[in-house]
Symmetry: none
Subunit: 415 residues, 2 copies
């Protein structure tokens, strides 16, 4: 019998107790028959994505949930997001996540997203910026690409570079962009900072009087006259999952950062029409696609961004609604997957608190159902119920070995 | 008061849910009043021998349960098994676990165990092989010894050698033995591979027309005309337990691999008449011996192989029966050990699944009873009940510090 595993990661789904929900978590407040079914028939627990108290990003948490030691291999966000946006990043390239932004005549940032500039305008601006020539060093080149709205990617290739450089993005409106600084004493970090500072200077010169911005000014739209950079990163030096566990793996995700992690892990990515990474995503299309994908995979990862989005916006009731839609999606999986030969695991990549609006370091619930599993007495899938489960408390990095062991893909250590 | 500790390791006792046992584990299905007594009066938990999802061998798991970091110190199976078989292996020697096997005229292995050749025949053959002279290098020598039936040990001593070499044993019948290959680029690995390949070649020449095989052919017995090697290993570089914790330690075990680990850890080994490492072992003789051994020890390890043997054979009912015999054995301990001054811990070295027939990466139950311990509300000793215990989920490497702390043998870290 060919055993397989599906891992569903609901981004930011875990939470703390919320007054508006009668001091329940959104998971506790939601109607969630399918999640409960998975908990009832499976083994449950809580999971620290990195380690207790550490709030992870979706990049580090996904790396960990795929079995990599994120503390050792994580090498910044930029290259992962670029990869996930379809930008061709090679090992050694240093990439940044960038925004088109609006600054006033003194250079103070008024809008970090340039009024969420339309893709059409952003594409024209990015095209003009890509034509700029890097002056020095002669063997360096860059790639600048817009993805969705104000979001762009800058990737530098050439001499020996470093990710040990600071951000130019001040992180909030009302401040000037910062000069990018080397964060260590290496010549690589100094060179990287200089290249990007020079380039941003040239970008601003081009953007200032760009016809697109002249036109936007006429229509009272915020001008995209500044580029803000953050999250310098390279592709992490990791073995693909096919080598680590000898598996064929497929991922369905809309969020570029998560897609980038999956690409770095050598996972085949299936794009699904209507999967948007928003609360309005087509949940059912993703469910159908994962059932299809599993036919020629040993392991399929289904990532849903929606719960994180509403959490950052502090919307408790919407988070409950998103969870109920995810529950419907899981219902489809329970109906259409052969649970006699397939393990189904559901977790979150981190806690995103409705109250703080931030990723938090609390553990997340985890449940695994499937054949011969040591099911426990947990009847509901939520943060506090799962804490009583048979898995007790595990770490993100432990989940893949557990799933791979269940489907017979781990080698014995010793004799 | 002199505090002492007994650790009982029941090899492969943990399991998954089994249909034949009404979806219980063998531990759950067994009548086990003594195990339950230990759980009831003690503190329980689950234990990952190495880490979650990782299926350990008995060698790596025993190293971990004795408090060593197996991921760091494990150096192959061969030397441990040789040590445990009474072969004098020194640091630096590279030893292999070998089998006498039967091959046809084309060299294809027909029986990896040469019909489980009798000790008498194996001893004669091994004696002849030991007389062969290693041609080169001049400063190398070897030791070849048969242990039980087809099982033999080959140990190489001399120049700088390496354990980074592959097996000649194809692992199943119907294939030819493989050439031993260096697994890295070092001159040590290349030299080791060459020495063993040359030696195996000479072994086969001697075995082919050996009088013992001529005689076996006459009686239609499979000829032991081939030697298969696997598991290159050296003695791990570890401090003896007497140095780590300042204790006098004794072990009772029949399985050579486990005895080897104990020897490497400087543990005194007591041989017990009737202890065979099989389901027919004399459980009660082992129990009596451990009670005796504890008189002049601080720590006594009792290893029972039987549950693993029946698990590999996929025999669910027999596994239940073995567990019930182990329970009787533990009953003797409960009756004859002073539990006012002795801690008694019971665990398994790994899960061996009746369904897959393999070592699996699921955690194992652990219970510790003894004076002043923080006993919990767990009433039964099994995988799922113990998961609700006061120890929660620990790792193999944590168990010895816990036991040694209970008997006052751990030094304070800090002031």
């Amino acid at each position: 019998m060919m055993l397989k595993a599906i891992l569903v990661i609901s981004d930011g789904m875990a939470d703390r107790l919320i007054k508006e929900l009668d001091w329940k978590t959104p998971l506790e407040a939601a109607q969630k028959p399918s999640l409960n079914q998975i908990a009832k028939t499976g083994i449950c627990g809580i999971l620290d994505p990195i380690s207790p108290g550490v709030p992870p990003g979706s990049d580090t948490a996904t790396l960990a949930l795929l079995g990599y030691d994120a503390l050792k291999v994580y090498s910044g966000r930029g290259a992962l997001e670029a990869l996930g946006s379809g930008v061709n990043v090679l090992p050694g390239d240093v990439a940044f996540r960038c925004n088109f932004a609006t600054a006033n005549e003194k250079g103070v940032v008024l809008d970090r997203r340039a009024g969420r500039i339309a893709n059409e305008d952003a594409t024209k601006l990015a095209g003009s910026l890509q034509k700029i020539k890097l002056k020095k060093p002669a063997n360096a080149e860059f790639l600048f690409r817009n993805t969705i709205q104000h979001r762009t990617v800058l990737s530098i290739r050439g001499p020996k570079l470093s990710i040990a450089v600071s951000n130019s993005d001040p992180g909030k409106n009302g401040e000037k962009p910062q000069e990018i600084k080397p964060l260590d004493n290496t010549s690589e970090a100094k060179l990287t900072a200089r290249i990007v500072n020079d380039l941003l200077h040239d970008f601003h010169k081009t953007l200032r009087n760009h016809p697109v911005n002249v036109e936007r000014a006429k229509h009272d739209l915020p001008q995209a006259n500044t580029v803000l950079c953050r999250g310098a990163g390279t592709i992490p030096n990791i073995k693909p999952l096919s080598q680590v566990f000898g598996i064929r793996a497929t991922c369905i995700a809309a969020a570029p950062l998560v897609k980038g992690v999956c690409k770095a892990a050598g996972i085949r990515i299936v794009d699904v029409k209507g999967a948007t990474g928003t609360p309005q995503t087509n949940y059912m299309a993703k469910a159908k696609a994962i059932v299809q994908a599993l036919k020629n995979s040993d392991f399929a990862l289904l990532h849903v961004k929606a719960a994180d989005v509403v959490s950052h916006d502090g919307k408790a009731r919407q988070k409950v609604e998103v969870i109920e839609k995810i529950d419907d999606m899981l219902g489809y999986l329970l109906d259409h997957v052969d649970l006699g030969s397939t393990y189904l695991a559901v977790t979150a990549d981190h806690t995103t608190s409705i109250v703080t609006g931030n990723h938090e370091g609390d553990p997340v619930p985890i449940a695994i159902t499937g054949p011969y599993i040591r099911c426990d007495s947990v009847m509901e899938y939520d943060e506090r119920s799962c804490a009583k489960g048979g898995l007790n408390r595990i770490r993100g990095v432990d989940l893949m070995p557990i799933l791979m062991n269940l489907i017979g893909k781990t080698g014995k250590f010793g004799a």
